[in-house]
């Protein structure tokens, strides 16, 4: 069948790309082949606009067991164990059907982890929405949180961390990034490389329906709502739970050669990737794929994104055993084809061959682009705008009011309303739970060790300076891991950007990747996995560039960790830090409505040093309380500690002033590489001494006590007063509580 003029545009291929396909094949593609190319050469699968830059990221270290290229990365955490992790986006589906979009995002990332042979032990989520006073944003927020909880809670995987921020740039472009961490014994790690011609390809899990046709290309078209697409996927966590247990049991035997989940571009991408990773071919018959619906075409079966499916490469002699195990979980296994030696992906529909293409053409031959990158002059202006017209906090009550406002603001308030909807106590491994510390800490059964996990990105920093902002994201995520006592080991990332064909967005993407690379090198953190989500842009706006960074670290002894809880009588020490400044700060944005100025400078050596002294003190059991100073500066960080502890503080010390010695700069200004530590007098003296020896700045700020917080020169608050505003911030609004609809 000839391809109709322009049919390639329906699958988001350009005219040039179509010509390239014809040249590579030496003929027109068949309709099924065209659909498969569209999916494989989409941004989502082909990384057309990001691959050249992703090469800048450091990926090696002696402790890396699996770097980018597999379904997830893996690092050695000692005792013969590996941590397996990745973060992935589900932004576009969540913009249209937030509950299911977020739920299936969790389902997808969890499959990536157990495909590697690891048992998933933790989930985290990084979310961005437009302001919550818009009903549409409130609806997205409620249902995204509901969907993440709905899926993860049912699976029985604790959701132990995450972050959420609100900004008008996310109107119509919510970001929903989910991270999963699993644990495996080194020897149990599984890869997704097909090998051994003659081995069976076996599909297990859900039946195939018309779900999410064109999902992979959907994210590459400017307006996802207007674009032509199939049915939104609806996830079934119960089925995923069965699939998870079945797969982990299968991997304990010797019959599985490789395992690959079906995600974006469904069967197409899993068959192609399995074959191309292994340098082999594959032949499947779509007639053997169990369907949920009648009348599905070969094209639809190949591109369906039905959830909860897994492709196995099985030794033929093991097929019966595999089937028996799978059926014990109430699932069925269908042998749909086999591995071949000819390097071709051949798709049959019964006797008819509907596609036959060398696997490499779908992967290696995918074009890459380095689009023109140019910074938006408007951003340069905002970054360099003078801030000296901002009035300082001179009026007697102003400092008091600012702290209350920041603590109660959407970006500064308690996230309890979110994490209480996630089961974070299941699996009885959560040592530091959400809200209790800067990173989650999990204990590992059968080992004294713990794993620390944090996810972070300051989108505002990245919007004003993507390179520096991305460096901050790595530093802050690592700092959070150090604050609980974890030794950061490696990074996963999710690059959320606008349309890369616009020079200003291409600039942000390129610079952010450079920033990630620089910080990862500087802090010795290899990047082991990640994901790219572009086209987060509507006619009205593009998202603030958001390179989400997940960091996983290890504690040699999980009992030696730190939380945000101080005790009455504790001394408070500020470790590290430079002069704080107002540029790009939360204070400036919230109080003065200005997203301006440059993010603070970041010195990676100093950062590493500050993290090390704090981490070492925790590991030596000399420190139990630590907290990073981030958005909102010192005053906010102190208030957060007081609230987490239920114990107030008297702050009579003088931390470093900003360049102009202003009150607002000192207490609300931001600068990285600062950690608040608290403990009894001798512990704090020891820590201060250690800082002196290492050439790290340290300032005694005061002590914890009572039920009031008093900050020298700024103001005094009742803890109850602080708590009231802090907890109110995300409280549900009357009327739109998690109900479907409200689609203004």
């Amino acid at each position: 069948m000839a391809i109709a003029e322009g049919a390639w545009r329906e699958v988001a291929l350009s005219d040039d790309e179509f010509r390239r396909i014809v040249t590579l094949l030496g003929r027109d593609p068949s309709p099924v082949e065209l659909g498969m190319f569209g999916a494989m050469w989409s941004e989502h699968c082909g990384y057309k606009h990001s691959r050249p830059w992703l090469r800048l990221l450091p990926t090696d270290a002696p402790w890396v067991l699996e770097g980018p290229g597999e379904n997830a990365g893996a690092v050695d955490i000692g005792d013969g164990l590996a941590a397996v992790f990745k973060v992935e986006s589900h932004n576009h589906p969540s913009a249209v059907e937030p509950y299911q979009g977020a739920a299936t995002g969790v389902g997808g990332i969890v499959r990536d982890i157990f495909t590697m042979g690891a048992r998933p032990v933790a989930l985290l989520d990084a979310l961005r929405f437009g302001p919550l006073d818009e009903p549409r944003n409130r609806y997205l927020f409620e249902n995204v949180v509901g969907g993440i909880g709905g899926y993860g809670n049912c699976l029985g995987i604790p959701t132990v961390g995450g972050e959420v921020y609100f900004d008008p740039s996310f109107n119509g472009n919510p970001l929903v990034n989910a991270m999963c961490v699993g644990v495996a014994r080194h020897g149990d790690l599984m890869r997704a490389k097909a090998s051994g011609p003659g081995n069976d390809l076996v599909l297990i899990g859900a039946d195939t329906g018309r779900d999410g046709l064109h999902g992979a290309t959907f994210a590459s078209v400017d307006d996802p709502k207007a674009s032509h697409r199939g049915v939104i996927q609806v996830g079934n966590p119960f089925l995923e739970k069965l699939l998870l247990e079945a797969c982990l049991e299968l991997l304990r035997g010797d019959d599985i050669v490789a395992m690959q989940d079906l995600g974006a571009a469904g069967l197409t991408s899993s068959v192609v990737e399995c074959a191309s990773r292994g340098g082999v071919g594959a032949e499947i018959d779509v007639a053997l794929v169990p369907r949920r619906e009648t009348g599905m075409t070969a094209y639809e079966v190949m591109l369906s994104e039905s959830q909860e499916r897994m492709l196995l490469v099985v030794r033929p002699e093991g097929l019966a055993g595999v089937r028996a195990i799978v059926e014990r979980y109430g699932l069925h296994a269908s042998a749909i084809g086999r591995v071949t030696g000819d390097g071709l992906v051949r798709v049959r529909d019964g006797v008819e061959v509907v596609a036959e293409v060398p696997a490499m053409l779908f992967t290696d031959a995918c074009p890459t682009y380095q689009p023109e990158a140019r910074e938006d002059p408007g951003i340069v202006r905002r970054r360099t705008a003078p801030l000296d017209d901002i009035p300082d906090l001179t009026d007697g009550d102003a400092g008091r009011r600012v702290l209350l406002d920041l603590l109660g603001s959407p970006n500064g308030c308690s996230r309890r309303a979110i994490w209480e909807r996630y089961d974070h106590t299941i699996m009885t491994g959560t040592v530091v739970a959400p809200g209790a510390g800067d990173a989650a800490v999990l204990r590992l059964r059968g080992s004294a060790r713990g794993v620390a996990i944090a996810i972070d990105c300051n989108s505002r920093y990245c919007s004003l300076d993507p390179e520096l902002g991305a460096r901050h994201a790595v530093a802050e995520a690592a700092r959070n891991v150090s604050c609980v006592g974890g030794r950061p080991l490696a990074v996963t990332n999710c690059l959320n950007f606008g349309n890369p064909q616009r020079p200003a967005r291409a600039f942000q993407l390129r610079e952010a990747v450079r920033g990630l690379a620089a910080a990862c090198r500087g802090l010795d953190l290899p990047v082991v996995s990640g994901n790219v989500s572009l086209y987060n842009e509507t006619a009205a706006s593009a998202v603030m560039p958001t390179p989400t960074v997940g960091v996983v670290g290890v504690l040699d002894d999980a009992t030696r960790h730190a939380t945000m809880v101080w005790r009455s009588g504790d001394e408070i020490l500020l470790v590290g830090g430079d002069r704080p400044s107002l540029g790009a700060s939360e204070y400036l944005a919230r109080i003065h409505g200005r997203t301006e100025g440059s993010p603070p400078a970041l010195d990676l050596d100093r950062e590493a040093g500050v993290q090390r002294v704090v981490r070492d003190a925790i590991a030596a059991a000399a420190l139990r309380t630590a907290h990073d100073c981030a958005e909102g500066g010192l005053a906010v960080a102190l208030a957060e500690l007081a609230l987490a502890s239920g114990v107030g503080a008297t702050i009579d010390g003088e931390p470093p002033a900003g360049a102009t010695n202003r009150l607002d700069e000192r207490w609300f200004g931001e600068t990285p590489s600062r950690i608040l530590a608290a403990g009894d007098a001798s512990a704090i003296a020891g820590l201060a001494e250690r800082c002196r020896a290492e050439g790290i700045a340290a300032f005694r700020l005061g002590s914890a006590r009572g039920d009031r917080m008093a900050i020298n020169g700024l103001g005094e608050w009742d803890l109850d007063e602080l708590r009231a505003v802090h907890e109110r911030g995300l409280a549900p609004l009357e009327g739109v509580n998690g109900q479907p609809g409200v689609v203004p």
């Binding site: 059907e97 859900a206 409200v742």
Partner: protein
């Protein structure tokens, strides 16, 4: 006709082709109970709204508008007004 009280019953179902894990689970449950003749199950929601309206047509139109705006997400669900009745009478 003067304003009166009406009950509008809206039924919201997963759209054709949309995966329905709840229906699947119920089908599995019924099969396990021995109902071998069960071929398929779809599960949805029913919402009964009691409202003030000038008449049956008015009530029906209000129910449909509410369903369109709040009760169903057209991306995955379809709805119809299944019944309209003056209040007091069972639908």
């Amino acid at each position: 006709m003067a304003e009166g009280r009406w009950m509008v019953e809206v039924i919201v179902m997963p759209k054709e082709g949309v995966n329905d894990p709840q229906g699947e689970a119920i089908r599995g449950g019924l099969r396990a109970l021995g109902y071998a003749g069960v071929r398929g199950v779809r599960a949805g929601k029913v919402i009964r709204v009691e409202l003030n309206a000038a008449g049956a047509d008015d009530a029906r139109a209000a129910g449909a508008e509410m369903a369109d705006r709040l009760l169903a997400n057209p991306v995955i669900e379809s709805f119809h007004v299944a019944a309209v009745a003056p209040v007091g009478v069972e639908a």
